[in-house]
């Protein structure tokens, strides 16, 4: 089974802090994704990566950056956390890009910014 793990289930940070969310997948997938999930808004794509060191902006990249130095690891970075970034963050991976292939999700990290 594909396994996608996220470094923390719950995280509390203060406004202005730099925050790192880590995601690791064990199936040698080319593609990795970061979403945020908010009530009434569903899942919104922040960034995705289709190869090591390659990244593309999603629907809501403002305030975020990403890093993919190794194939199995995809990091989401909040350079200066703000209260409106309080949310559930979900990482996913897939072998192929696009909507044709199944995305495998991690359990999520619930981030609270005070």
């Amino acid at each position: 089974d594909v396994k996608v793990t996220q470094s923390s289930r719950y995280l509390v940070k203060r406004t202005g802090e730099k925050v790192f969310l880590e995601c690791v997948q064990d199936m040698d997938h080319e593609n990795m994704f970061w979403y945020r999930q908010d009530p009434g808004l569903g899942l919104r794509l922040i960034y995705f990566s289709y190869d090591v060191k390659m990244k593309e902006k999603g629907d809501i990249p403002e305030g975020y950056s990403v890093s993919r130095e190794k194939k199995e690891r995809f990091s989401l970075i909040l350079e200066s956390a703000s209260t409106n970034q309080t949310s559930m963050y979900l990482c996913a991976s897939s072998l192929l890009a696009g909507g044709r292939d199944t995305q495998y999700f991690g359990p999520g990290t619930r981030l609270t910014v005070l």
Binding site: V4, N31, F33, Y35, G40, L41, G42, L43, R44, L45, F48, Y50, E56, K57, G58, L90, C91, A92, L96, A97, G98, G99, R100, T102, Q103, Y104, F105, G106, P107, G108
Partner: protein, 111 residues
């Protein structure tokens, strides 16, 4: 761009068939329709995928009309364990910048 629209919530009694519809009026020719299920404190997981007509697996059926502007996820004889949020995703074969998840439908199964 294929934005998606789903009902926010639905209730059903155990043992009934549940149909959840997703509207995607601007679906592109090469877009596929995929449904995911999400339980509390977990990430979404794949249920079923289709391109046109009908697809059935051991969990659900997916009905897609000829114009493909909507799709219906059908869950036969739901049980309490089917209580979850169901998401519709529309997207093409390549690239992730045209992937659109719906806002999700919260299904509550009542004993």
């Amino acid at each position: 761009l294929a934005k998606t629209t789903q009902p926010i919530s639905m209730d059903s009694y155990e043992g009934q068939e549940v149909n959840i519809t997703c509207s995607h009026n601007n679906i592109a020719t090469n877009d596929y329709i995929t449904w995911y299920q999400q339980f509390p404190s977990q990430g979404p997981r794949f249920i079923i995928q289709g391109y046109k007509t009908k697809v059935t697996n051991e969990v659900a059926s997916l009905f897609i009309p000829a114009d493909r502007k909507s799709s219906t996820l059908s869950l036969p004889r739901v049980s309490l364990s089917d209580t979850a949020v169901y998401y519709c995703l529309v997207g093409g074969e390549t690239g992730a910048n045209n992937l659109f998840f719906g806002t999700g439908t919260r299904l509550t199964v009542i004993p």
